[in-house]
Amino acid sequence: MAHIPIQRHRLDNGLRVILSPDGRTPIVAVNLWYGVGSRHEERGRTGFAHLFEHMMFQGSANVAKGEHFAMVNGVGGTLNASTWTDRTNYFETLPSHELELALWLESDRMASLLPAMTQEKLDNQRDVVKNERRSSVDNQPYGTAEERMQALLWPEGHPYHHSTIGSMEDLSAASLEDVSRFFATYYAPNNAVLTVAGDFDPEAALAAVGRHFGPIPANPDLPPSPIMDVPDSLGGEVREVVPDQVELPRVHVAYRIPPFGTEGHQAFDVVSDLLGTGRASRLYRSLVRERQLAADVAAFVFPWAGGSTVLAVWATARPEIEVDTLEAQLLDDVARLATDGPTDDELARVRTLHAAAAEQGLEQVGERADRLSQYACLFDRPEMVNTEIERYDAVTAGQVRQAMADRAGADNRLVLTYIPAEDAAEDAA
């Protein structure tokens, strides 16, 4: 779909509404982005935005606990939600004739979550979230890497310093009063974007949106964004070694880079593909195929718009390979991109791969709705979904070289290494 249709509306209460009709399959996606994530959390309440997301499924004035899932599943729909640093999103994809069910469920909890809240529900979901943390972080090899990366890339007190899942201690401290305050502060129509994509009649859908969301009052006192300023560079190399329950060492290297959505950021989307997307990418070729130092590699950037964000790469050592050897070669491969820059053929390849991936990403109405919400929520420009490919293709070899030279040097580098706990014990002995 070269050009996604976009209709923009705004209700009197400030709710931004994006409509993107497409009748090819009789299904429809409803997607809400609230402009609140873990970077908005108060001190001592890390993990709260995500715990709150769970509470949004515990019922509201007209919906009982469990009914949200049951009703959407019960018509053949799928649904979920997720929380990250900058936002919290809620989404349903369902047969198109049930569009209004999703609108009603979303509006009911936006309008009237608090009457349904109880201590018992909070305690239950606190346990669930603690188990989510155990499953995805504490009981997973390398599971704490992202959290450690955030803690080392941003200073204490910075909104990106702590992870979205938060700490066990802070989760334990969360109270019903926190739930009320958080809801009243952030879960207001003027802090949200509602996108509908797929098979629907725009006029009827807009009328239904107005019916369900129109009466919900705005919050006239939305707090300003927390201060996100940090220097462009870490000001030196930061290193940490983490002994963990892992069999193979893994080295993570990360850099502070400009925020998602800025021109300075765009080059790093290209950088991450040059380094790590596909079997012809530089790191796969060098570390996995030719030198056989790594069992696997990855490179990615986080699309965080609040302030500086991160370019990260990692490689897992093959058995018998010294992690220092792997690290040296990895750093050399990254540095080479700053000195040599990409070849024309490399740039052409990642552009073609990116264009195909972009198309694939937009194939599902659910994903399309999420991207529209993203651009509308972060930049108030949903149309950016239609220029993803052009923006990517506009990045030149010179810009890649410059971006790497500016940001990927030793003065802005985090090296975080996971090693088997037994090795650490032996070294200490």
Binding site: D127, V129, S135, N139, R279, A356
Partner: protein, 453 residues
């Protein structure tokens, strides 16, 4: 008076939906071509399916099917591994190849104008693979590293030990389809060449193309690339699937674990089982959705876990049935007891109409969502091609789900669930979970270490 928005809105009239029309025809030397024209899409999905999965291996070569598939994408006679990767990525495609028990497959997804060039590369890869010894050895070492790595991942550890303890020794299903360290370590590139020569043959193979294509064009492109691909293959062997049976607990010791990865189950049923639909509905009701009994109880009522599920893994021969969850260490024995009680509950009485209705409505309603993408439509052809299902499989699917009533669900539970015989595998901290398990008296307990053989 109730405000208007207090009531769940009534649905509009549903728009009819059916699985996309498709055609199939023999091509060249026995290959079957399936085309799913989806004229208003942007992407073409191409999948080549061969009867050369792990079920086609001989046991001492466990894992050769998976390694053969992986080695295929490391080049052709003309192009070495890196050059082949560059050639595909210039088209904006990444060719994958993998293998499960019942099928080995390779394919890609491409923008519509690129798929014929992609098909040429795929055909070159399948017909004139490079099978470079260095690349094979590298991939074998990566596989061994991955197996080593899996021993530090509690979920994979529990999966591996569950299979090992549930199937009798003579069943290949007692291992993962990708093999074990013992079977993978001695594999050579010669064996991969031989597996390919024997099994990557057209007579039992299927080529599936879905997307904005014309049938004639696809036939022409397939004729040009695979029309004279020849040879015959022996296909898969018959897999013995005896269950060791008997209630037992195996604790895979992982000291310091903050959770226990729990698997409860036994040998299940084969893909062609006559009770396929009742079994599907019954498992969904027990553990297939968020509102299922397992997830409601273990997560939403007790807070023991982030999520609990149960399902049959149906293969050509009887794959396992298992309920699964990662539960907090402190409540491990309780979680096992609750899980067993829920499985027993399925056998005790038929579900009530409302509970069953919700599950059936989910399975029927979610139908169009499954085939939204061209990849989804191609995946819809796979079971028809691989298991030889009726071509109207998807056309009648929803009616057959709808026909499952409370009695059939109950009968399926009584016939197919065997909680008294269930194996319980826990990957977790043995010292901390053992006393509670002993006190709960759920069965004899054996503690093993992850690296035990």
């Amino acid at each position: 008076m109730t405000p208007p928005n207090a009531l769940r809105p009534a649905p509009g009239p549903p728009r009819p939906y059916h699985f996309p029309d498709f055609t199939h025809r023999p091509l060249g030397q026995g290959l079957t071509l399936w085309v799913v024209p989806l004229p208003d899409r942007e992407l073409v999905s191409v999948q080549l399916l061969v009867d050369g999965g792990a079920a086609a291996e001989s046991e001492p070569e466990g894992g050769i099917a998976a390694l053969t598939a992986e080695t295929l994408v490391t080049g052709t006679r003309r192009l070495d591994g890196h050059a082949f990767a560059e050639a595909t990525e210039r088209l904006g495609i990444e060719i994958f190849a993998d293998s499960s028990w019942d099928v080995a497959r390779s394919g890609f997804s491409a923008l519509a104008d690129r798929y014929p060039a992609g098909l040429e590369l795929l055909a070159e890869m399948v017909r004139e693979p490079r099978f470079d010894e260095g690349e094979f050895d590298r991939l074998r070492e990566e596989r061994l590293a991955d197996i080593l790595q899996s021993r530090s991942e509690p979920g994979r550890l529990a999966d591996e030990w569950f299979l090992r303890a549930v199937y009798a020794d003579d069943s290949p299903y007692a291992r993962l389809s990708a093999g074990t360290p013992e079977t993978v370590e001695p594999l050579t590139v010669e064996q991969a060449r031989a597996h390919h020569a024997r099994h990557w043959r057209p007579d039992r193979a299927h080529l599936v193309v879905a997307g904005p294509v014309r049938v004639d064009d696809v036939v022409r492109a397939a004729e040009a690339t695979l029309g004279d691909w020849d040879g015959t293959s022996p296909g898969h062997r018959t897999i013995p699937v005896a269950d060791r049976g008997g209630r037992r607990i195996v604790v895979v010791d992982r000291p310091g674990s903050v959770q226990s990865e729990l698997r409860v189950g036994h040998v299940g049923i084969e893909r062609s089982h006559p009770d396929y639909f009742p079994a599907l509905v019954m498992a969904a009701l027990l553990g297939g959705t968020f509102s299922s009994r397992l997830n409601q109880r273990l997560r939403e009522e007790l807070g023991y876990t982030y999520g609990a599920r149960a399902a049959f893994d149906m293969r050509r021969a009887a794959g396992p049935f298992s309920a699964r969850a990662a539960v907090q260490t402190e409540v491990t024995a309780d979680a096992v007891r609750e899980t067993l009680a829920l499985v027993e509950g399925m056998r005790a009485a038929p579900p009530d109409e409302a509970e069953l209705r919700e599950v059936i409505d989910f399975l029927i309603g979610v139908f169009p969502l499954r085939f939204e993408t061209t990849g989804g439509a191609a995946a819809g052809i796979e079971p028809i091609a691989v298991y030889g299902l009726d071509h109207d499989w998807w056309a009648t699917y929803r009616d057959r789900i709808e026909a499952v009533g409370p009695v059939q669900v109950h009968d399926a539970a009584v016939d197919l669930l065997r909680p008294a015989d269930a194996l319980i595998v826990l990957a977790g901290d043995a010292a901390r979970v053992r006393p509670d398990l002993e006190a709960a008296d759920l069965g004899p307990i054996e503690v093993v270490r992850p690296a035990d053989d």
